[in-house]
């Protein structure tokens, strides 16, 4: 391995692969909405381009087809055999599931949404920008093949927005797999159904019938080319604005018809939706801190009307290049694996297939990330977080400009108003986030009741944490752009050696530890390392020789900026390790773990032993736990009523040590811990 590193990284990362690919132009679809009648828009002639092999059918017929399908019938018969229940009763159950799940696409509802959303979007957002070339590509592929939309998921707005865009461009409205937590919202629920959403229970592990009905429903829609299918690879809304690690279940369902050659091909369309400001921003922060999520009830949504008076900036939607599953699969999976069993009997997917699905899921997310429009706010947030509680305005402007350069050279897709001065850009960002940041007397501060360390209470810690997490969520929009070079930089600090092999070893460790936090393509550590090295060399932060990586004096500040940007993660995980090592002598449940960490961290914060507010985040805690389980640092034990965990002290300490083996500035912290 080491030899490979030296050889490959020595040659440098291929320039071509990273030279910022040309991105499409955007078009603001609200512009026309400002100029012409929304009613007319909603009532326009809507004749979307359709799949050439479409066999038209009504939503009701669709349900019957699914119910009568060999797949579902087979499972019904099997269940009846297993449980002794009559198959009629199970059949009825299946019908109920279909009713609960089934969408009922209606043009009327779509028009209603088109009208209402026009109004709402105009109130909330300045612009809704769409890359029209992406739409053109989509228009073509929709007619040729079954299509699956894979948008990023940051907000409930996502799927309303996408359907709205489809309507605007005269494209078929997708059928959406979305969480059943909407079912509580009576009115909205009905409308959503009619606009194409169908519902999936969050957890249906072990419910064979549900799985069968659901899978068949999705596949039937694809096979018939009835409508594009849309779902979120991330599984749920990311509360942190960081891309969540992908889920594989739905992805393998939508690819299944191709694997079984029931369709010639299926196209996946990664879609990146980025918001200058996310509607749910504060809600997410509370959730991350463990305040129970308010159940989405209709009245809750109505209260959200308050929100309507605020400004949420722009939305950018980038439709990526549609990707052919057939092309992706070519040569990678054993093509005859479905030959020996009837296709309606579901088989455990083979290993190569599982690997494939996993790989594709990650690739799709990486494309989402690559095409995600970044805004100045993310840069401001990233800088401000390194200068809490606040900083000089002019310095902020200067640094933002500097970070802009860095972001661009790392391949970030930045939406930077060309006609404005940097100062103006920062200022308008501050205005947009005025609930979070404030400019007073040439000084920018994060709002949220910052108090001097001595007088901290848990309550104040909590208050401040809300602001920090909100701010962090904007910084998080850019972390995946920086993560590779940053991990190389951090590795070179931690390795306390300039030997490439040593640094690579640490890099692998960090990449492994943080693979739940950031998106890395499985099995491509070396490539990630090379990319990181290449980017650092490109901006002259390091020099790479055949065997060494040396941080150049001149750009030392960049390296430390990068490593500080990721400090909340390195430090957060370290703290969690400490907690496991000190406090967790016995087996514990996930709940005990979170609340334990939470207490532990807030104590540290109260006493000023750390500034790592992000360690309070449930998201980080959960990621850390599952990482530790994956690495064998913590054992997960299945009990009758759930799981318990048990930490391997030695391994925990080792991990903590590795994470803590830093240069002097960090040693201070460790001694204080």
């Amino acid at each position: 391995m080491a030899a490979a590193v030296v050889g490959a990284a020595g040659a440098g990362y291929s320039q071509k692969e990273l030279s910022c690919k040309k991105k499409d132009e955007f078009e603001d679809i609200l512009e026309e909405r400002w100029q012409s009648s929304d009613i007319q828009f909603a009532m326009k002639c809507y004749t979307p381009a359709i799949y050439k092999g479409l066999s038209p059918c009504k939503p009701g017929t669709l349900k019957t087809i699914v119910l009568k399908s060999e797949q579902v019938q087979y499972v019904i018969k099997q269940l009846s055999k297993e449980t002794g229940e009559s198959s009629d009763i199970i059949q009825e159950e299946a019908m109920e599931i279909l009713e609960e799940m089934g969408h009922s696409l209606r043009l009327g509802a779509i028009r209603f949404f088109a009208f209402t959303l026009s109004k709402v979007f105009k109130k909330l957002f300045q612009r809704v920008c769409v890359n029209e070339e992406g739409i053109q590509r989509l228009t073509q592929v929709i007619q040729e093949h079954p299509v699956v939309f894979l948008p990023s998921h940051r907000s409930y707005t996502d799927f309303l927005l996408l359907s709205y865009i489809m309507f605007t461009y005269d494209l078929p409205v997708p059928v959406i797999a979305s969480g059943t937590d909407f079912l509580g919202m009576k009115m909205v629920n009905g409308l959503l159904r009619m606009s194409g959403a169908f519902f999936m229970r969050r957890t249906f592990h072990g419910n064979k019938l549900y799985w069968a009905v659901f899978a068949e429903y999705v596949k039937t829609i694809l096979r018939k080319g009835y409508a594009p299918v849309e779902f979120f690879v991330e599984g749920t809304r990311s509360r942190t604005s960081k891309t969540l690690t992908p889920k594989f279940g739905l992805l393998s369902i939508v690819m299944d018809p191709f694997f079984k050659r029931e369709v010639f091909d299926t196209y996946l369309v990664p879609i990146s939706i980025s918001y200058d400001r996310i509607l749910e921003e504060s809600l997410y922060a509370y959730e991350l801190l463990g305040v129970p999520k308010p159940k989405e009830s209709t009245s809750g949504l109505l209260k959200a009307r308050r929100v309507l008076s605020e400004n949420f900036g722009s939305i950018h939607v980038y439709f990526g290049q549609p990707v052919s599953v057939r092309t992706l699969a070519s040569g990678r999976i054993n093509r005859s694996q479905y030959n020996l069993m009837p296709r309606h009997i579901s088989q455990r997917p083979s290993k190569d297939l599982q690997e494939f699905v996993k790989d594709i899921a990650y690739r799709m997310e990486l494309i989402q990330i690559e095409n995600m429009v970044l805004n100045p706010g993310a840069l401001v947030a990233a800088i401000l977080l390194q200068n809490l509680p606040g900083m000089d305005y002019d310095v902020l402007v200067e640094k933002t400009l500097w970070l802009r350069g860095l972001t661009l050279s790392f391949g970030g897709f930045l939406d930077w108003p060309g006609n404005l001065s940097a100062s103006k850009v920062v200022r308008s960002t501050l205005t947009l986030h005025s609930n979070l940041m404030n400019l007073v007397d040439g000084h920018v501060v994060l709002l949220g009741g910052w108090k001097e360390e001595s007088r901290l209470t848990e309550e104040l810690v909590f208050q401040w944490a809300v602001s920090v997490l909100m701010c962090a969520s904007y910084r998080n929009q850019v972390v995946n752009v920086f993560v590779r070079p940053a991990l190389v930089a951090i590795s070179s600090e931690m390795a306390q050696s300039s030997k490439k092999e040593d640094i690579y070893r640490v890099f692998i460790f960090l990449r492994e530890i943080f693979s739940n936090e950031f998106i890395f393509l499985p099995g491509s550590a070396l490539k990630d390392f090379e990319e990181g090295c290449f980017l650092l060399t490109k901006c002259e932060a390091v020099q790479i020789t055949a065997h060494e990586i040396i941080v150049t004096e001149r750009e030392n500040s960049m390296v430390s900026f990068l490593s500080t940007m990721f400090k909340p993660f390195t430090e957060g995980y370290q703290i969690i390790c400490r907690y496991l090592s000190n406090d967790m002598t016995q087996a514990f449940t996930e709940k005990q773990f979170s609340s334990g960490v939470q207490n532990f961290v807030s104590q540290l914060l109260v006493t000023g032993a750390t500034q790592c507010y992000e360690a309070l985040s449930r998201d980080m805690q959960n990621n850390a736990l599952s990482t530790f389980v994956r690495l064998g640092v913590v054992k997960k034990i299945q009990l009758a009523n759930g799981f318990t965990f048990c930490a391997d002290k030695e391994a925990v300490n080792k991990t903590a040590d590795k994470l803590g083996s830093r240069i002097p500035s960090e040693q201070r912290l460790i001694s204080r811990l």
Binding site: R261, R335, S336, N339, P342
Partner: protein, 617 residues
Amino acid sequence: MASGTSSQLAQRRLRIISGHVQPPQTPEALSLHPCRAPTAAGSIPKRRQEVLKWNGWGYNDSKFIFNKKGQAEFTGKRYQLGGMVLPALREWMEKTFGASLEHRTTSQASLNVVPPAIINEGFLHDLKASGISYSFDTEDRVFRAHGHCLNEIFALREGLFRRIPDLVVWPNCHDDTLKIVELACKHNVCIIPFGGGTSVCNALECPEDEKRTIVSLDTSQMNRILWIDEKNLTAHIEAGIIGQDLERQLGESGYCTGHEPDSMEFSTVGGWVATRASGMKKNIYGNIEDLVVHIKMVTPCGVIEKSCLSPRMSTGPDIHHFILGSEGTLGVVTEVTIKIRPVPEYQKYGSVVFPNFEQGVACLREVAKQRCAPASIRLMDNAQFQFGHALKPQVSSIFISFLDSLKKFYITKFKGFDANQLCVATLLFEGDREKVLQHEKQVYDIAAKFGGLAAGEDNGQRGYMLTFVIAYLRDLGMEYYVIGESFETSVPWDRVLDLCRNVKERITRECKEKGVQFPPFTTCRVAQTYDTGACVYFYFAFNYRGLSDSVHVYEQIEFAAREEILANGGSLSHHHGVGKLRKQWLRESISDVGIGMLRSVKNYVDPNNIFGNRNLL
């Protein structure tokens, strides 16, 4: 059209196929010493070049041409289509392939540049002494250097062969064959059995790096029916007899085998056995493996055969199945005892039009399920249906095109049918008159359930005709930059539609990717039905103007199509065989152990690889 009596019908069908009725043969059937008995004068002479094209399909006198007026015409008198003008064909070619009469390619006049013969003097000496007929003539050698794959015909027309047989021998009988094989073993020369030369899997192609003398063992002179057993309904025949001669000669005694592969004008009994051939009427008569009762094969380690003519045996694995499909790698099949049936009293063609291919397949599936398939039932897709129109002759009372004769139905019955969707099933019923009529009704009733409407006998008959002329059509295409081929597979019922759609789509896409300028012509038919699945037959052709290496492109696309078939749960081959064309997939098709079994049989039977055509393994 009124149907005649069955013997008339049988005759007529033969005429349709070849129209080439020979004067009745003197029966040699009962000669006790077949070697000394004069061989029957078969339809194809020893010097094949006298009647057959050297660089294309079929008889010299039969081909498609464009006449002075630029209209397509079929020459010769052998086929019903002979001498007729086909006005729609040109436009079809222009439209379908973007072909043009201006852009022609011409075949070289002859293939004289051949590798020099490698002669094993010892073998030649002993061969001469044996008195067995042989030849070094270049034409004779070239004629036996190939089958009818596209690359082979292309090489004849504008290329060359790197390796051809060095010598052709014509054994007169089993004993001659024994002698030849014995000499071959003695002198270590390579033998490639040659039957009718209709192989479509490069099975006859000589391995380029074969350094030994390659002897093409032409079986054509072993072409007698040795006896007919009317009590047990079997006939014992020599393996070199070609299909048309066999059926005609049996017909003279009131019998038939019923084995009618589309190549039956030229292919031989030995070839059928060696490739596991399948005949059009297998629903009644069975495929070749169902038909043979006894096989005699000469191998390097002796003769293999069973000791009785029993209808079925439980004596371990059936040794016939080592022979069937051995593709000339183990030995020469010299004699075969085959089932015969009385010539059916009555034959009737038929056809059904379906609104679309899906419905048609569903109907065939149901027919198979009820096990009431007629002698033949084939479903052509829409493209093939349209192609039928292109072969409409100018003046003929019988040859009204599909479309024309459908037109009158069209207005009345087919209103709901889309001319770009509908497809046709062709049917052939056989048996005694009453049963045929009953059977016919049963099938049409099933068809009706799938929206199928009876569309007359003529259409059915013409459908079968198409199969024979299509082989000639390729030669015409090649004159105008159009190359093509057929290929086939078998697949479980539930995957038929997916397979057909995906394979066609794959071809279209591959062509585009490979820079083929005009969309290719792809069409398929469900050619055979079984209890559990069907045989699907594809035609595929494209205009190669603008491509630098057309045959290579063609091969890449054919490769992709086969990959697609395998990915769709189709078999490597239903009846064309493996040869060298599909060798690369055999291992995955039959597993490592399977290959090992075949290899160990080969190693035992032919350790020195005398039968060195290198098919299969």
